[in-house]
């Protein structure tokens, strides 16, 4: 029973946090500062989530660093998302096997 309450709590908070602002914001935002802020926030969030957490993501700093470097190089070359992600994991795995 308590598990059901936990699951509903998670789903409800996660839904409301997305749907409420998505539904309420109708007018074009005119403030240049806020428009700029909103344009930058996704990149800022994804970066802050990734650095430094990525270095602890494989349980071994060295394999994680190799995976990160591979991902950075491929992303710099505009490779597709899935290729960058899989190559990062594959290079981390290979590094782990070699060392």
């Amino acid at each position: 029973m308590s598990l059901a309450i936990y699951l509903v709590t998670m789903a409800l908070v996660t839904y409301l946090i997305r749907a409420v602002p998505f539904t309420l914001f109708r007018k074009k935002i005119t403030s240049r500062f806020i428009r700029s802020f909103l344009a930058y926030i996704p990149y800022a969030v994804l970066t802050a989530m990734t650095i430094p957490a990525i270095f602890y993501s494989t349980g071994d700093m060295l394999t994680a660093v190799v995976g990160t470097v591979v991902a950075l190089i491929l992303a710099y070359c505009n490779c597709p998302l899935i290729l960058v992600a899989v190559a990062a994991a594959a290079s981390a795995l290979l590094t782990g096997i070699v060392i």
Partner: protein, 238 residues
């Protein structure tokens, strides 16, 4: 089939493939923490958020009184997923007039980092049908990957499971690097966010990492908006 819906589905395929592998990792994590595979799959189907789900599963597994766990869930889910509010507001600025309240309430369910990034990058206003196509395909990948990971993940060698921990972050890098390469001001925001995040980790380790992410991102984006405001003719760019 509606052309916009099909277009959304097509754009969702790379996300689906990415989600298949990332949610596979979530399936492994959930089962390792004592959740039945069907519960893990249900969590993915109703939340569709990697970081929030991982945090939620660990919080529930840690246990405690009903009230304590619910309160922890409320706070951590709110903070970790706060970025979706910001993305939802950003995306609300690019919606087609056909996006009425019921459509917003429905499509709001599916705003994830990747779905936002793809929808936001569209050169034309985003329609409900496009969003539904994009969300449906991505959601299917997220749920299927979780089920596969939960059922089969325990069979994977530890080494492979460990290496898969980097998948999600690899995807984030693939989203951030190309625009940062193209535009100096995005690069500035990205470097500021990374610097602040590292600073929190090592100088202020008492602050929970989910909260540190939100603070770092808000400060970095505000600095960017202050020093490099968008010009009026480049709405939606960034």
């Amino acid at each position: 089939m509606n052309g916009q819906f099909a277009k959304g589905m097509r754009h969702g395929i790379p996300i689906m493939l990415g989600y298949l592998s990332v949610s596979f990792g979530f399936g492994i994590l959930a089962v390792e923490n004592g959740f039945a595979p069907w519960v893990a799959t249900l969590i993915s189907a109703t939340n569709v958020t990697s970081a929030g789900q991982a945090s939620g599963v660990l919080t529930i597994a840690a246990g405690g009184t009903l009230l304590a766990v619910v309160l922890q869930l409320l706070i951590t889910q709110f903070v970790i997923n706060l970025r979706y509010s910001l993305m939802a507001i950003s995306l609300s600025q690019k919606l087609d007039p056909s996006f009425t309240t019921p459509h917003r309430l429905a499509a709001g369910f599916g705003i994830t980092d990747e779905i936002f990034a793809v929808a936001y990058a569209q050169p034309t206003p985003v329609t409900p049908a496009y969003m539904y196509g994009l969300i449906a395909v991505s959601w299917l990948g997220w749920v299927t990957g979780t089920a596969l990971g939960a059922v089969a993940g325990q069979l994977l060698p530890d080494m492979v499971a460990d290496a898969m921990g980097i998948l999600l972050y690899g995807m984030f890098i693939a989203i951030v690097v190309p625009p940062a390469r193209k535009e100096k001001r995005v690069l500035f925001v990205v470097l500021a966010a990374a610097g602040l995040s590292v600073l929190f980790r090592f100088a202020l380790p008492v602050i929970p990492s989910s909260l540190a992410v939100v603070i770092s991102a808000v400060v970095a984006a505000a600095l960017g908006a202050w020093w490099f405001p968008l010009q009026h003719d480049e709405e939606g760019e960034g």
